[in-house]
Subunit: 321 residues, 2 copies
């Protein structure tokens, strides 16, 4: 049997990884953070969470700027931008122990297939985060709203993985850290449900530099949001996953009730970073296209965002990422 | 029979009305121009056309700032923005003589139905202008590219109006003025053909503040342009008008070959003016919807543009028009 408590290596200590890592550490779990540009600051001052649930600071954290210096852990929390996943081939073999668990906190589709090929990775649990957090400075994360996580087991053939023991242990740790957790027996179903919100709002807040409240309160855009959500439901149905209409209605209602929010994609655009267009748009479109279904509005949003990114780069010049 | 030469009243002496009015005047036709904000300047200095076909100036023109001072003419060239058509009820009864001809140089759909109700209007010929012109200052118009006009006769029931004698006379005048003119027996068909270009490029140059070359040279956007054009073709087909695929291909090829261009809608946005969204998007969408067809991408572009306009107005504050 596995030892009593999981230790956690946080790969990508940004808005998401820093937030959940800090919650786990605060609840007494062993946590180690891999950092890049924020290393000096975090090594010196730790992490600060400014949160609607109450602010807290961890003045001392285990910070590393080199994966080989990080002690091997049971679970690697991968919370990089999906666009940076290429570097995981160098990182995960150094930071995982024989347990070999990856907790993948990323949006979008199909990242697991690549991660599963990396040496030392034995099991992947995806954590779908319904959370509004923003890194506002080195080591400082603002938690604006929500925070729940859906956990689901990755399987190579895409079949439902059920509720595994590893999922249950991670769920217990996150619950003890104060996170609202649910477990899903079917990752594909959970991913498409998450896309119901992400596909309209990541794209539209970025395209228009307008927050969720502006969008949902302008009737033609509310119609567009509903139509985009409906296309996600159609996409899911091509893979045999049935999302009920009530789920779409709830996403609309939740958006109305949440504090005005910009997606992290919008902040990536502002910072001249690559947008997560492949994981969030292209791969779901491909999955539906493989079953003969074109999703016109999602396709259009993807095309528009790719053009906006190109414009933002100064038409053909590459940005510093 | 009608007298030898038509006289022309230009209502809306902007990029389009000023351009074609000047060409008619230069060729010896009697032309009278109704102006508003540019009146003083044009009264004093006339009109200047900076054109790829050769610059010319008309230092003295018949300029008026009051429709009641304008002598009655055979033809009123209506070249206002469609959003300003409401004022035509006050203008046309003053400027038309018993001939009562309107030459409507506007994009989009369904403006004729309203204009046909105005006292003194007896016949409406629509002129669909394939021209890239921009008003660059009071009385100064820059003609960048193209310039041809398709003329078609309006009929109240939307049936093909044939090639009428009035159309032929206007065609002769425009041809003598150096304009490439073709006549269409079917206004509805001609309008939808024009929308094949206008729907993608008016909207996308406005939405992205990007010129036609940027758009057509970015492969995902070229795909979007083609898909939007295909939806226009579908819309036309619901009204029994068949636009062949070669027409779409030609529009793409022409756009590639033309000088980089921003639509007038983009300049309207920059100037804080109302966008021609009703005439260019909503009415064609309604026409297709009346035959049970939703055009997803055109609908989305309309929704996005309406949101952009709302944002541009400062979220709910009305702009000065």
């Amino acid at each position: 049997m596995m030892k009593t408590a999981f230790s956690y290596a946080v790969i990508g200590t940004g808005a998401v990884g820093g937030y959940y890592g800090s919650l786990l550490q605060r609840s007494g779990k062993e946590a180690h953070y891999l950092l890049h540009s924020d290393y000096d600051q975090v090594k010196r001052n730790g992490l600060t969470i400014v949160s609607v649930d109450g602010d807290f600071a961890l003045p001392q954290v285990n910070a590393y700027n080199d994966p080989r210096k990080l002690p091997r852990c049971d679970v690697a929390i991968v919370a990089l931008k999906a666009t940076a996943n290429g570097i995981l081939s160098d990182i995960l073999p150094c930071v995982l122990n024989e347990t070999g668990i990856v907790l993948l906190l990323q949006n979008g589709f199909g990242q697991e297939d690549f991660i599963a090929t990396i040496s030392g990775v034995k099991t992947i649990v995806a954590g779908l985060c319904f959370v509004c957090t923003t890194k506002t400075g080195p080591g400082t994360i603002c938690h604006q709203d929500y925070g729940s996580v859906i956990l689901a087991q990755f399987t190579k053939d895409g079949s439902p993985g059920g509720i595994t023991q590893v999922m249950q242990r991670i769920a217990a740790d996150l619950t003890a850290a104060g996170v609202s957790v649910t477990t899903s027996p079917d990752l594909i179903d959970a991913r498409w449900r998450k896309l119901v919100w992400n596909i309209p709002f990541s794209g539209l807040t970025t395209l228009f530099q307008a927050d969720t409240a502006r969008i949902i309160n302008w009737p033609p855009m509310q119609q567009l949001v509903k139509d985009l959500m409906q296309e996600v439901v159609e996409g899911a149905s091509t893979l045999g996953r049935i999302i009920p209409p009530a789920f779409v209605d709830k996403m609309i209602a939740d958006t109305r009730n949440m504090r005005p929010y910009f997606s992290s994609m919008k902040f990536d655009l502002d910072a001249g970073k690559d947008l997560e267009l492949e994981a969030m748009y292209r791969k779901p479109l491909e999955a539906a296209a493989a079953h003969g279904r074109r999703l016109a509005r999602i396709e259009m949003l993807y095309e528009e965002l790719s053009f906006l990114q190109e414009k933002n780069r100064g038409w053909g010049k590459r940005a510093n990422i």
